[in-house]
């Protein structure tokens, strides 16, 4: 399952992710500010919307991959998706 995660619903998002055996996470909008928390809490592939990272000047941990919107759509089409935005 792919989870889109922004800040306002982050608590429920991380709780939902914790019970998923094969999650993927895409940090989006102000959710990119959660990069350090996500990297520390989750052992799974983590992506972050590149445009959102750039305008906010966020230093991504090396395990988080910035992705453009077309890659995000590939991920959405490939995986069932739950949005916490």
């Amino acid at each position: 399952m792919l989870y889109l995660v922004d800040e306002p619903m982050a608590d429920l998002a991380f709780r939902t992710i914790a019970g998923d055996e094969d999650p993927r996470i895409a940090l989006i909008q102000d959710g990119v500010l959660l990069a350090s928390r996500a990297a520390a809490e989750v052992d799974a592939p983590i992506y972050a919307v590149a445009k959102d990272v750039e305008v906010r000047g966020v230093d991504l941990p090396s395990e988080i991959e910035p992705v453009p919107y077309d890659t995000l759509i590939e991920l959405v089409v490939e995986h069932e998706t739950k949005s916490f935005v």
Binding site: P8, M9, D11, T16, A18, G19, K82, F84
Partner: protein
């Protein structure tokens, strides 16, 4: 195609339209052509709207809730979000089931689609 739909109400109720209009959407998709299976979950600051003491009439909730229940929709509230806000299970309205944070997370993962308001 008939789907399992989880409608999450995420905001404190009074002063904005999200709780009543989220309920309107919930009963709307429960009543549509596919007659989706709809569960409404009060999560995050939405748990305040699940309290017995809120003035549902002032929040424009009763009609939408009656319609939702008539369509076999159900309402649940996230105990983990309640605990974070010091809302006790005894405060929750009788037509809303208190469920653990894990159970709510299970519902999110199991739903075909989630909507949030």
């Amino acid at each position: 195609m008939k789907r399992d739909v989880l409608v999450m109400l995420t905001r404190a109720p009074y002063g904005r339209v999200h709780v009543p209009e989220g309920l309107r959407a919930a009963r709307g998709v429960a009543a549509g052509f596919d007659r989706h299976d709809v569960t409404v979950a009060f999560v995050a600051d939405g748990v305040y709207a699940a309290r017995e003491a809120v003035d549902r009439e002032a929040l424009n909730m009763p009609g939408h809730i009656a319609d939702l229940l008539a369509e076999d929709g159900e309402m649940v509230v996230d105990e983990a979000a309640m605990a974070a806000r010091d809302v006790r299970p005894a405060e929750i309205a009788g037509d809303i089931a208190v469920e653990s944070g894990e159970r709510i997370a299970d519902r999110v993962r199991a739903a075909d689609h989630t909507l949030d308001f």
